[in-house]
């Protein structure tokens, strides 16, 4: 029997497939299609201390094998989540990861504190959202910025802390090392790559925000490369994401060094993608005599 279980920072996941933040809401919409307990975990929609309305529309543009989004962290605020969504989520029998963003270090700390008082299993610190003007990515693009926010948040986070990294940087290894040194329990990458599309008839950007975050299969090779570089630089677990749409992609990402994976944009064209990926990994393990999925992590044999 293939053992799909993985352990990240002391939290046990029944399989290594987690839904990516912002692509799965708070789970209710997909729960109409399949039980959420089939998932290893859910990284919940990015939250802020107070409600955010997000950016004006259009917020979505299609790209070759991918998409841009400029949602801009629309969310009801952390208290509304705790009151309205968390009790229901807690009954779904899967690992819950709260993805939090702020416009200043104090906001991040207050959120980490508040989430730590709840039944959420882990915190994912989003220092990489390209769609909000202040904060977010401002912290994530330099080792010093990333370290400064993790250092403070660490004091308030009583749950395992994942730091979600931006790909819009020159040296991902340096940033991964910096957050590890400040006490991050894991890193997840990649968030979206900054992109732009223009309607040549109107000469207007398709997104009202002008620019947005690129995700989907188009970013997969970039994500594999960055996960590989980050995994080689740190000893904490790496969660790999960016463009994963099938079991083979997840396996490739794990061979690059990811201990678990997240699936995002693929769910928009195939809502069952995370379930199929988990089943496909299990099938592949059986076919290849892999007993424990953790055996394959980082087993790429670089030239």
């Amino acid at each position: 029997m293939a053992d799909m279980q993985v352990n990240l920072a002391g939290v046990s996941f029944k399989n290594p497939v987690i839904t990516a933040s912002g692509c799965f809401g708070f789970g209710r919409e997909f729960a109409k299609l399949y039980p959420l307990e089939k998932l290893g975990g859910i990284s919940l929609k990015g939250m802020t201390l107070h409600e955010r309305l997000g950016n004006p529309p259009p917020r979505i543009a299609e790209t070759p094998s991918g998409m841009l989004n400029s949602v801009g962290l629309q969310n009801p605020g952390v208290e509304a989540f705790i009151e309205n969504d968390l009790p229901w989520l807690k009954e779904q029998n899967t690992v819950l990861i709260a993805n939090i963003a702020g416009s200043c270090v104090e906001d991040y700390c207050e959120m980490a504190q508040r989430i730590s008082e709840t039944d959420v299993d882990m915190i994912e610190l989003n220092i990489s959202c390209p769609n909000v003007k202040q904060g977010g990515v401002a912290f994530g693009t330099s080792p010093e910025g990333a370290a400064s926010v993790v250092r403070e948040v660490r004091k308030h986070a009583k749950k395992p802390l994942i730091v979600k990294l931006s790909p819009n940087v020159a040296d991902i290894a340096a940033i991964a090392k910096a957050v590890e040194a400040e006490g991050a329990d894991a890193v997840s990458l990649i968030n979206t790559l900054l992109g732009m599309r223009i309607d040549i008839k109107t000469r207007r950007p398709i997104l009202r925000n002008n620019t947005g975050g690129l995700s989907g299969p188009a970013v997969f090779p970039v994500a594999v490369r960055m996960v590989w570089q980050a995994a080689n630089a740190v000893n904490i677990p790496v969660i790999g994401l960016g463009g994963i749409e099938k079991a083979e992609d997840a396996i490739e990402m794990m061979m690059a060094g990811a201990s678990a994976v997240q699936v995002g944009a693929a769910m928009f064209y195939d809502p069952y993608a995370p379930v199929k990926i988990a089943e496909g990994i299990e099938q592949w393990m059986n076919d290849n005599g892999v007993k424990n999925i953790s055996e394959i992590v980082g087993t790429v044999k670089p030239w």
Binding site: K32, G54, R59, E62, P217
Partner: protein
């Protein structure tokens, strides 16, 4: 409300006008619960699914009709599908029109491809309904016989006067409201037209429902991509999501700026 995602067989296809095709899809699970104004999200070879309104529903036969205008690579692909092919649908999605009281006197206003969802609405009201449909040119007119078969009063408008009333649907609507009692207006079409319909409905004090159009990704309310500015009860602005809170909104909820 619930939805599902599956491959369904296409039973029939037909060209209705230049670049506009109709597909009849066998999907009993969707047909049995769909309401006029709801939509399906269709997978093509491109990354994002394409939202398409459910034009007609035959719950008995277990079929729905889709009317699609080829205006880009995804809709072009859908228009090239033929009987015997299968189509990957996620649906039925969103909230349809309020057609619970078919005894009301209704007017449906459809602009261009917006005529398609209006057919499903008109088929609920039948004779109690007037359909005001606007097209650029006589060659673009679609679903004429279908609306006629419902027994509703059909008022066709063309921008260039090559068929029916020479002018916009909004002018026709205003003329109609001056002379007739109307309980409810349902509309779908280009934004400027829908804004015009909203203003006229307000002027004449008639309830009005509008089907909105926005770029989508998930289609179910999870990605928050399809935002549309709406007014809360206290008058403040917020963003609703066309796929989940719409596509049909009460006119007064909408904030066309």
């Amino acid at each position: 409300m619930s939805y599902l995602q599956k491959q369904f067989p296409i039973l029939d296809t037909k060209c209705l006008a230049k670049d506009i095709h109709e597909l009849v899809v066998s999907c009993p699970e969707i047909a049995s619960q769909a309401i006029a104004g709801q939509f399906v999200n269709i997978r093509t070879s491109h990354t994002l699914r394409r939202p398409i309104s459910i034009c007609g529903i035959d719950a008995e036969k277990g079929t729905i009709r889709l009317v699609v205008k080829a205006q880009g690579k995804g809709t072009d692909e859908i228009c090239r599908m033929r009987p015997g092919d299968t189509i990957d649908l996620l649906g039925p999605l969103g909230n349809g029109f309020d057609v619970k009281n078919s005894n009301l006197k209704a007017v449906v206003v459809g602009g261009g491809i917006g005529a398609a969802p209006m057919y499903g609405v008109a088929s609920v009201y039948g004779k109690n309904c007037a359909a005001i449909l606007g097209f650029r040119d006589s060659a673009d007119v679609i679903l004429e016989k279908d609306f006629q078969a419902l027994g509703c009063e059909l008022l066709i408008c063309t921008d260039n006067g090559t068929r029916g009333f020479h002018g916009f649907t909004t002018q026709m609507l205003e003329n109609y409201l001056k002379e007739n009692h109307v309980d409810i207006i349902h509309t779908c079409g280009p934004k400027p037209m829908m804004k015009g319909v909203k203003d006229i409905a307000e002027k004449y004090g008639v309830r009005c429902q509008i089907s909105m159009d926005e770029r989508m990704a998930c289609g179910i309310g999870a990605c928050l991509g399809c935002a549309c500015k709406t007014k809360k009860e206290d008058g403040s602005s917020t963003y609703s999501h066309v796929c989940k809170h719409g596509p049909v909104f009460e006119a007064q909820q909408l904030d066309f700026d």
